[in-house]
Subunit: 204 residues, 2 copies
């Protein structure tokens, strides 16, 4: 092929279904690579280094920040998380499409560095539906859920900076829409300058 | 649904396969409406008024131009051709997606009036391939074919103003790409302001 892959960034409020969708995409599109984040937090039970995260010492992480080796990074509850630049760019160069599942702040950081990135926001079909899903998970306290719902209101305003919004009213439909976005983005005129140049040549 | 349909405009050089692709899309997507052009030229054998074209007298056509009833129009070899505004807008309001198969000049006229229109340029995979297809049709003279190839070089420069380029290296793949573009365009953030507004509300 010789064609660069597509960088997709997926964000969305907790409970919108990002994780399920990304796992399904990975299953259905074998050439799709899901980026692995680096973090300074301790591995939890069952988490594997290089699979779930790259678990790094704080000084290594700091060095990566200083050397510009992270496409984006953030500190959350005292731990650092970031996206290793090399991992992503290498996969794109090989022609693989790459998915980053990161938060909005991170997504906007990456878009600044790599404007060709495609930002997809996964939204729940409604506030009520999200509320029900969060309560249904039973893993969060009522207080935590209320905080998440409030958080979403603010996030949705930032979602206006995204290229696409995929409403997750059905997992199947959401996946089909993202697959369509991947195909469609590869047809965008500004990504196809070589074929335009070839066909605009005069003479055989 | 209550949602407006999508307006797709398809153009491309003669021999790129527009006609075949549009017919296949119409077969596969029953709710898709292909716009019927108005023309002042005489109906040819087998052509049906209201199916192939709306065949109009010159004075009616002029009146439609004066009253702004055409989304675009052009004069070709002494005959007038145009896209009736009412037919297209009514279908879009009903929620149907509408396809216009028109030339680049017309497409750019429509895009000015309806910026939400999606412009798709069907391109042959290469100059050589297009040449072979045109010779293969046997309906055009060698002179005519040479003129068309020259014409394409100029057209490709204008194609830079299109949203998408679909390279027709295989009819099946071209159709799948256009179906993907339809799905993807419906997820574009700027088309989804109502869901953003709903989810950004604070409180229940």
């Amino acid at each position: 092929m010789g064609k660069k892959g597509l960088l997709l960034i997926i964000s969305g409020p907790s409970g919108a279904g990002k994780g399920t969708i990304v796992k399904a995409l990975q299953r259905e599109i074998p050439t799709l690579i899901v980026s692995i984040s680096a973090t300074t937090r301790q591995a939890r039970g069952g988490e594997v280094d290089g699979v779930d995260y790259f678990f790094l010492e704080r000084d290594i992480f700091n060095k990566m920040i200083d050397e510009g080796q992270l496409l984006e990074w953030a500190q959350v509850y005292g731990n650092y998380y970031g996206t290793p630049r090399h991992f992503v760019l290498e996969a794109l160069e090989r022609g693989n499409d790459v998915i980053l599942e990161i938060d909005i702040q991170g997504a906007l950081q990456v878009k600044k560095k790599l404007p060709e990135a495609v930002l997809i926001f996964i939204a729940p079909p409604s506030r009520t539906e999200l509320q029900q899903r969060l309560f249904g998970r039973k893993s969060d306290s009522r207080e935590e859920i209320e905080k998440r719902l409030q958080c979403m209101a603010g996030e949705m305003k930032l979602a206006a900076g995204y290229d696409y919004i995929v409403v997750n009213d059905s997992i199947r439909r959401a996946i089909d829409n993202i697959r369509a976005i991947i195909l469609a983005e590869k047809c965008r005129t500004w990504r196809l300058q070589p074929i335009i140049d070839h066909l605009s040549q005069l003479g055989g």
